[in-house]
């Protein structure tokens, strides 16, 4: 019999051991964590033809957006669970500090009643919109082929809950000062009926039913979310500042810090996707397919925003700067 080779301990997980550099905490706890790529016939350890196995075979592994090794993706910020909470607890302390200070100086009482009406129409219904982002990120995360891509989406999902929570908080608080604006009551009606929101509602309902992972990750992150970020955070924040609502301006600035982080991983992802021939054209075709809907959403929302000249153009230009 041949000599039996006995495996020796290595400095790190065997799947990272071939590399020369010492793995970071991020590498150790974030990479190659999905196990549904072991068997192309059955992602999960059940009948290969089971509905959910077919779902993953088709939508995750069968997408036209190809890369030889999606597991090589790395989040440039290397966010892990532990650092996410450190970071966001600090951010929440800041935001709730703002809420506290502005409440003490009776900020809401200084707001114009007309602006309060605008908030009831164009700001507080955003909790529905942020929730659609939360749902869409949860979907893309669960069908992503690499845990490092999944994690970016789950943190983004949590960030959307964060924005939603700020919105719910402010809705309640504003309703205590402005009792006749339907605050805390009419948001669903605005979201479902008001012309300013219908573009975003159509966009998000349709984005939420894109099941192909490749198309979904592109459409959510390169089209839909940037439209929301630019119109409903950045331009609304501007409108707020122009209407004496310093608090909302500061709040959207704080939320835009999350957006900046999202865009850093997105840039790394698109760079990686372009390594595969054919992906550029494919992504371009998805952008062309979806951009009109996003533009329509931006137009409808921004045209209702008071005191921000060229809001729609500025927002649309900004979404295109994410291109490649």
């Amino acid at each position: 019999m041949s000599e039996v080779q006995v495996l020796k301990p290595q400095k790190t997980w065997s799947h990272l051991a071939a590399r020369r550099r010492k793995p970071s905490e991020y590498d150790i706890v974030s990479t190659n964590l999905h196990y549904n790529n072991r068997d192309a016939n059955a992602p999960y350890e059940l009948a290969p033809e089971l509905f959910m196995n077919q779902w993953y075979k088709q939508n995750t592994f069968g997408t036209a957006l190809k890369h030889a090794d999606w597991n090589a993706f790395r989040d440039p910020d290397e966010v892990i669970y532990r650092t996410y909470n450190l970071m966001q607890d600090g951010q929440e302390t800041y935001v709730f500090g703002l809420f506290d200070q502005f409440n003490q100086r009776e900020h809401d009482k200084s707001l114009d009643a007309r602006w309060a009406g605008t908030l009831a129409r164009l700001y507080t219904p955003a909790r529905y919109l942020f929730h659609t982002l939360q749902m869409a990120s949860a979907y893309v995360g669960q069908v992503s082929p690499a845990s490092t891509i999944t994690n970016c989406h789950y943190f983004q999902m949590a960030d959307s809950l964060r924005w939603l929570s700020h919105t719910a908080y402010r809705t309640k608080e504003l309703s205590l000062t402005f009792t006749d604006k339907g605050l805390g009551q009419d948001e669903r009606h605005y979201w479902e009926q008001d012309s300013a929101w219908q573009g975003f509602r159509e966009l998000m309902e349709k984005v939420l039913t894109v099941w192909d992972w490749g198309e979904a990750i592109i459409v959510l992150n390169m089209i839909a979310k940037p439209a929301v970020d630019e119109a409903v955070l950045r331009r609304l924040g501007e409108a707020a500042r122009h209407n004496g609502d310093v608090l909302l301006g500061l709040l959207t600035d704080a939320q835009l810090m999350d957006v900046a982080r999202h865009r850093r991983w997105l840039a790394a992802f698109t760079k990686m996707a372009l390594e595969t021939e054919g992906n550029k054209e494919l992504i371009q075709s998805w952008i062309e397919k979806w951009q009109p809907l996003a533009d329509k959403a931006i137009d409808a929302y921004c045209s209702a925003l008071p005191d921000v000249p060229n809001a729609a153009e500025a927002a649309k230009t900004a979404t295109r700067e994410l291109g490649f």
């Binding site: 909790r127 949860a138 719910a168 669903r188």
Partner: protein, 503 residues
Amino acid sequence: MALLNRMEWYNLARTTNWTPTYVTEDELFPPSLSGDFDLPLTAWEVYDEPYKQTYPEYVKVQREKDAGAYSVKAALERSRIFENADPGWKSVMKAHYGAIARGEYAAASAEARMMRFSKAPGMRNMSTLGCMDEIRHGQMQLYFPHEHVSKDRQMDWAFKAYDTNEWAMIAARHFFDDIMMTRDAISVSIMLTFSFETGFTNMQFLGLAADAAEAGDHTFANLISSIQTDESRHAQIGGPALKILIANGKKAEAQKRVDIALWGAWKLFSVLTGPIMDYYTPLEHRKQSFKEFMEEWIVAQFERALTDMGLDLPWYWDIFLQELNDTHHGMHLGSYFWRPTVWWNPAAGVTPEERAWLEEKYPGWNETWGECWDVFIDNVVDGNMEKTYPETLPYVCNMCQLPILGVPGKKWNVKDYPLDYNGRLYHFGSEVDRWCFQQDPERYAGHMSIVDRFLAGMIQPMNLEGALKYMNIAPGECGDDAHNYAWAETYRALRETRKAANA
């Protein structure tokens, strides 16, 4: 007033259902993914999670919890607890991390399924936090064992196990994939959170934490009890969903899901946790027997939870209570005998003192399981080591993927429960396993157990060597006796004494 009380805005944050019009409700929430049980959005809006937490509370509390667990780890990093631990205890850690860490990470995606597809807005927000929790549990339970990876090749399996066809991992994946990875949102909430996390993770994380603290492994004890504080929050996601189903006349469908998940969890625990608690944990550190833990944490807990919910005890409750006496002893004997096929070193746990403890906890142990161990011990004492290793694979169940076994000795009762389905013959280890399969045969029928694969020629050569290769486990990783058979010396000495007395 400066800041609002959380309950003043909490309800707004979970009022997020709307009526879609650009796509249909069924397109937005496909029934096969949302598991709406034919109930409209409005029926799910009464969902009320008992454990309420907001985003800012979450990130604050979780940051503090992490600070606690990681600082204990850092403080004890140079303590040589691992190096000095009883080899049986090291095996506990290896088995636990391998079977659990990446399964927990996968659970993040099961939570994300509930987040995206549940029609209950409260469930969607709680699952957002639950998803984050599971990332935590996956990441911590990779980071903590990584500290030991350079000392012991088997620790590599904390990461590697889920990528292999090691037999216990096939069983673990089959169970977790069945209850959490391939189900609709509502079924996940019933099967993963209500049926599995409420009782079983409590037992794994708190029961094992008690043993860990006894064994002096404070890092591990702290880690897993910290994890359990998250579990106890997100485990409550399923309860309100069950209430809605029952209120809408869907009790039978809810009950079926509970019964299937609970049985699968029991089988997995019988092979993973049973041997750990009754054989690997050093005798002096055992808080309770596995059966006692099960009775306190699982049996009593479920009897209460099911009654509170208006559900019935599973129809197989008597079979389950009977199995608490036996199954894990068989699983231990099996995994010990097939020790080259596991990534930890099983402790035999059968010194005379340990056998006395087993006999006390499980009256009749010596005349059943003990008889098998007598033969085994004789072979070790006689130096017939080749007889103490297997040559091929045990027969496994087509539902739980674990060996089909019975009680040996005077109570010998091994029995196969076969089923002919669509022209293929399936084998089950119990009436309950067969029943689970029959509830939804198409989920399972196309799956091949490791024995099916062996018989189909997928494992070559068709012997233990081929099986080890197939399982991707090699010398340096393969398990052997945790104490290098040192315990057999007692029996050798006993035999010498007897010989001298007879001379």
